[in-house]
Every structure is written in structure tokens, then in C-alpha cells.
Symmetry: C2
DNA sequence: GCGTAACCCTACGCACGAGTAGGTATGCTC
DNA sequence: GAGCATACCTACTCGTGCGTAGGGTTACGC
């Protein structure tokens, strides 16, 4: 057994940090395509150009591997959004920038992120990680709303705030799913549509009012 | 082996139609609690007070069984919503009634429906069934919006309509999830919150405008 | 140039759970 | 009360795929 003509040009003996990233790349790809359960560790290892025990040695169990994927992609996403929303901007501008960053990210990582995210819904082991991510998003949105409310001297119950934010995040996730399923669709345009429904609401939309990005 | 002291009082030799419903009940319960993959046919059969081959004889494969669950619960849900929205009512009233019916249903079938619904996201085999259900909902919402728009002489692109509806449905699903996770929460109140964000939008909400159920 | 640690492999064990073979009992019809 | 269909069971087979045992090889420090 010495015929070892792999497709990958980069060949042997890579340092751990590099291999780990390759494995995660492969894992994201395979998990996305097959779903958590149908994905096999063999295929992931194979796709990473490595053998299975290496994956176990570096990233651990299948579940741990999936969580690692979720975590890496989640972190990347949060980073992509982080810079977008400066607290001193008016609320609509903050919301708009956040949405733009979010949909931009999802659009650029279609099967990467969105499908992975879809996988995590359901199956208990990942509910925690997923809920944490969503929780952070909800917190951001709720914080933004709260900030704007206080600025105009108003206030509102914590649960109300949470639920409204939850709804907004949910709508956004849904459109992210939609975007991931429609490869021809434009991220920017999707963000605008989301902004319209989130900011204006059905009433205004039915009245013919529309929101458009300033500048 | 004649010790057959089952917990279920109703014992032996039931007609097919009845047993099928019992099996579906058990399946919904187990799928909800464990998730599709972790659920075992043995446990479902056991929970239905029947042996495994019966399940196969009546409802077929595990996947077919799951689809059957999805289908039954989905139909029930659509029926629950169906009567709510009379086309001659104004748009806000239609939306409100639809939301109320929807959250009422989910609230009454917490682990039944919502968790089952969550399971279906992801795993390819069920994507079709799920997409069909969601599609019907989106269609209803889009139809309602379109109707209202035409009534006021306005019109809008089909994709815009679809995406906006999609966002609204997504937000609603999210709050349904939230409701399913918060056993103490009230369905009616959740519906009101959803109505607020959907109908008024963040802008109005931040201005202190609120929507309240008429009557 | 030699030890040692990191990298990497080819196998296999093993549990778990879907689906089935083949047989038994009970009610229903005539 | 014979015949037949329907309800129902116990006890298997068998594929699949996670996780591992145990061993080889390349780089790197000294």
C-alpha cells in the first residue's frame, strides 16, 4: 500500500493548528450536506484528507466535533456583526447595519452557516449552544430597543422586550434560511426587505410606506 | 410468559383505526421527547402498549411513521387556523384571529406540535413535508396581504410579498418555539405581542404606539 | 546521530436499533 | 363450529458507523 495519490496538493505532516482547521472545514461541509446524523466521521476524515483517529485525537467525539463547528461559525458570525452597530447611532440605523452585516455573512457562507444552524435546532445536545447564540443575538436587539426607549423617556417590561426581540431574531433567521435556499437571491435586498417588515410593520407596508437605506 | 399486567386498562384486540391513533400518539410523544434519531421504534411500540411488528404493519418505516405524525399534527393545526380568518374582515382583524388560533393551538399542544416541528427542520427526508406546511401558511399570509393591497389599489412584486410573508411566518414560528419552551407563558398574551411587532413594527413600538385586541 | 515527541496509519470491536420471519390466538361470518 | 381474516407476539438477522488498539514514520532538539 504505497499508492498515495491524494487530490490535495498539500500532503503530509502538518502542524496541529492547521489540521484542526482543515478538519473543521471538512466537518462543516459534510454536516451541512448530510445533516448531523447522516454525516459519518469517516467521510469527514476522508474529506479533510486525514484518517479517522486523527479527528478523534484532535477534536474528540462526533458531538464534540459538531459543537466545535457550531462554535467556530457562531463566533465568526458574531464578529461579523459586532462592528456594525455603534450605540450612538439612531435605532433604525443600528438595526439596518446589523441586518446588513448578518445577511452579508449568511449570504457569503450559505451552506456553511445556515444549514449548520438548521441542524442544531432539535437534537438536545446542541440546544444549549444554539440557545446561547440566539440568546446573545436577542440580547443585542433587546439592548438596542431598550436604549432607544430610554432615550425617549419610555420604558417597557423585560418580558415584552425579550419576546419582541425574539420575534425579530426569529424573522431574521427565517429569512436567512430563505436566503440559503435561494442561491440567486441578493443578501442586500433581503436585508432591506427584513428591515421593512421589522421597522415599519404590516400596517405601514399596507399603506404603501416603505423604508429605504439612507445614503 | 402470561404475566401481562399492562398499565393501560384497555387491553387487547383493538380495531386497526384505534391502534393506529394510539401508535401515532405514542410516536408524537417519543419523537418529541427524544428527537427523531434518538427515538427508537421499540420505545414507541412499548409506549403504545403494542409490539414493534405491529407498528411496521400499520404505519410502515420509521421515516414513514414520522411523516405520518407530521402530517396528522399539521392537518390539525391547519384546521385550527382555517376557520379563523374570514376574507371580508379587515386585514388587522384577520391577522389577529389567525395568530390567536395559531398560538392557541401551539399552547394546547406544546410538546406535541412545536417540538415535532423543530425536529423536521434539517433532515432532508422531512424537508418536503415541512416546506409544504410552511408554504401553505406563507400562502395564506401572502394572500391576505395581497388582498388588502389590492383593496386599496396598490400592488407589489410577488417576491416581495413572499419574503415579507415568510418573515412574518418565521417570527411567528419563533414565538411558538418560545411559547413551547415557557410552560408558564400565556398563549393569548404571546399572540398579542406577535401582533404588535408584526402589525406595528419597531418604529411605532419605539414611539409608544401599541396595538390592542378590539372587543 | 540519536532519543523523543508529535503526527499519522490500518485495521478491528462492539453496541445499537431498524426491519423481518414465522407462528399463535381471537373474533366474525355463514 | 369450521373457516378465515385480522390482530398480535417472540425472537431473531444484519448493516452501519462510532470509537479504539496498537503500531509506523518523520521532524526536531541536543
Amino acid at each position: 500500500m504505497l499508492a498515495r495519490v491524494s487530490s490535495t496538493p498539500t500532503f503530509k505532516r502538518l502542524p496541529r493548528a492547521v489540521r484542526e482547521q482543515q478538519m473543521l472545514d471538512a466537518a462543516v461541509k459534510v454536516f451541512s450536506r448530510r445533516g448531523f446524523h447522516a454525516a459519518s466521521m469517516d467521510e469527514i476524515a476522508d474529506d479533510a484528507g486525514i484518517s479517522k483517529p486523527m479527528v478523534y485525537a484532535y477534536l474528540g467525539t462526533k458531538e464534540e466535533l459538531f459543537v466545535a463547528c457550531l462554535h467556530r461559525e457562531g463566533t465568526r458570525m458574531m464578529e461579523a456583526i459586532a462592528g456594525a452597530a455603534a450605540p450612538e447611532l439612531p435605532a433604525d440605523e443600528r438595526l439596518w447595519r446589523g441586518l446588513r452585516a448578518f445577511f452579508g455573512f449568511v449570504g457569503a457562507h450559505r451552506d456553511g452557516w445556515a444549514v449548520l444552524y438548521r441542524q442544531a435546532r432539535g437534537s438536545q445536545p446542541f440546544a444549549a449552544e444554539l440557545a446561547a447564540m440566539r440568546g446573545r443575538l436577542v440580547e443585542v436587539v433587546a439592548g438596542m430597543l431598550d436604549h432607544a426607549l430610554r432615550a425617549s423617556g419610555r420604558e417597557v417590561g423585560a418580558t415584552d422586550l425579550e419576546v419582541v426581540s425574539y420575534a425579530l431574531v426569529g424573522a431574521t433567521e427565517s429569512l436567512a434560511d430563505w436566503l440559503a435556499d435561494h442561491p440567486e437571491a441578493d443578501a442586500e435586498k433581503t436585508a432591506t426587505r427584513m428591515m421593512n417588515v421589522a421597522w415599519l410593520g404590516a400596517d405601514q407596508l399596507l399603506r404603501g410606506v416603505t423604508w429605504r437605506p439612507g445614503v
